[in-house]
Amino acid sequence: MLKGKNIPLAITFTVGLIMIVSFFIPHRPFGDIEQISLKWYSIIAGFTMLLGVDSLLGLHFRKVKRKEENWIHSIVLIAGFVMVVIAGVWGTIQYGSAFDERSFFTYIYNYFIVPLQSTMFSLLAFFVASAAYRAFRARNVDAALLLITAIIVMLGRVPVGELISPYLPKFTDWIMEVPQMAAKRGIGLGIYLGALGVSIRIILGIERSYLS
């Protein structure tokens, strides 16, 4: 009987099976069903943004209302959100697209978002340097090997490596293409076999944690 949890399980099984079959037999009717499903997926993906906005604003409005720690930051976030939405809508009305070079939305992007994101990412250089000094220790043979390899790769991947010796970049390429790749490929195969196993378990209704 189709009731309770059986309904989503049946939908998952049917859709999963159709997707697998349409991958190997992309002809009618499977190809058409797959195409319709993908369009639905695309539309639903668009609406998930609304869920995200609802969740984000809900959280920060609560913080402001209860005057929780750093609630001032929440006001900045809400104000920023409102400003970007207005700029986007206004840019679309004024120039046909919010991404037009003359729009205030593009101004916000170029002079707020780009510097903020760049700053966040560039801070990594400082933390990596500090961590390298404090934590990267040759405590045992494995760590020593990792440390030596890292130093070779760090030198071989920049032009200074070429100045030290033309063989250094070549040796770095060998490290990247042979030992590094051997380990990565092993990890990659493991991950994909795991993903395949979980997918089959979900389609067959064995793995049901997504229902809770």
Partner: protein, 278 residues
């Protein structure tokens, strides 16, 4: 031995200042360092160079401002090469926050090369649901990109008249800051046999080497270094080449920190051992 004790408790702000100096000074002085193009980068360049005139290239912007120093120079070098060889770039975006970056880069190089919008290139913008698009483009691109980034019907542009699916693209180039490239390889490459070239951030480039070795991708541009190599191949050194000096000296400084940190560690360790033995 007191010096090692002091070094083991060095103020991290001192490290930060040194890093700031080695990053900023080379950007101002612009020292010239040798940049030798590697095979994964050359493979992309040669492939694009040998495409017949009028070939369409699908460019996917899958990065945002955090990865701009690594990806934007490659985008610009690639677009210069495309316009020089009369190839037609068709841009799509999978990361919302990458859309303005892609638009800026495309418009900048198109202006520089006197390319005409809708005839020599087009910008289709961002759509949500990238897996659906990747599979859907295999059938009909209009199902997902009926209008360009300014909401104009793509059928009104001459460039799109004969473009329907992957069969109409000579190459797909993904500029990737995250793991979106895995899906391009899986769907566009695996299912529709689309030729793919990838430009990845330095941090994730090692993850894609096995796709290159198994010929699932034709080439790989890794981080700012790969972009600098592409600029050298295109014979127009620009931002990536300028950034390589900073990267070189900051790598050397980090190596010095590692060596110094380890010397301090071993000296302190032996001191503590001696003190414990007394």
């Amino acid at each position: 031995m007191k010096i090692f004790e002091k070094l083991s408790h060095i103020d991290r702000r001192f490290i930060y200042i040194l890093i700031a100096i080695v990053v900023i000074v080379p950007l101002l002085l612009k020292p010239k360092l040798p940049i030798v193009p590697t095979k994964p980068v050359k493979d992309i360049y040669d492939y694009v160079e040998n495409l017949p005139q009028g070939s369409n290239i699908l460019i996917s912007i899958d990065y945002d401002a955090a990865s701009m120093p690594e990806q934007q120079p490659f985008l610009e070098a690639l677009l210069r090469q495309c316009f020089r060889n009369k190839l037609k770039p068709i841009m799509i975006v999978q990361w919302q926050l990458g859309a303005p970056l892609g638009t800026t880069g495309l418009e900048k190089i198109a202006k520089e090369c006197n390319a005409q919008y809708g005839v020599d290139y087009i910008n289709l913008g961002y759509r949500p649901g990238y897996v659906a698009q990747m599979v859907g483009i295999g059938r009909e691109i209009r199902d997902y990109f009926a209008v360009d980034y300014k909401n104009v019907s793509i059928d009104s542009f001459p460039i799109m008249r004969n473009i329907h699916n992957y069969n109409d693209f000579a190459l797909l180039v993904g500029l990737e800051a995250g793991a979106t490239y895995l899906l391009w390889v899986e769907y566009a490459g695996g299912r529709f046999k689309q030729k793919i070239a990838l430009a990845l951030n330095a941090v994730s480039a090692p993850d894609a080497y096995y796709f290159y070795q198994s010929k699932q991708i034709i080439g790989l541009v890794g981080g700012m270094k790969g972009a600098a190599e592409y600029e050298v191949l295109e014979n127009k050194p620009d931002l990536a080449v300028a950034g390589m000096a900073s990267q070189s000296y900051s790598h050397i400084l980090i190596i010095l920190f590692i060596v110094l940190g380890n010397i301090t560690y071993f000296v302190e360790k032996s001191r503590k051992k001696k003190e414990g033995g007394r």
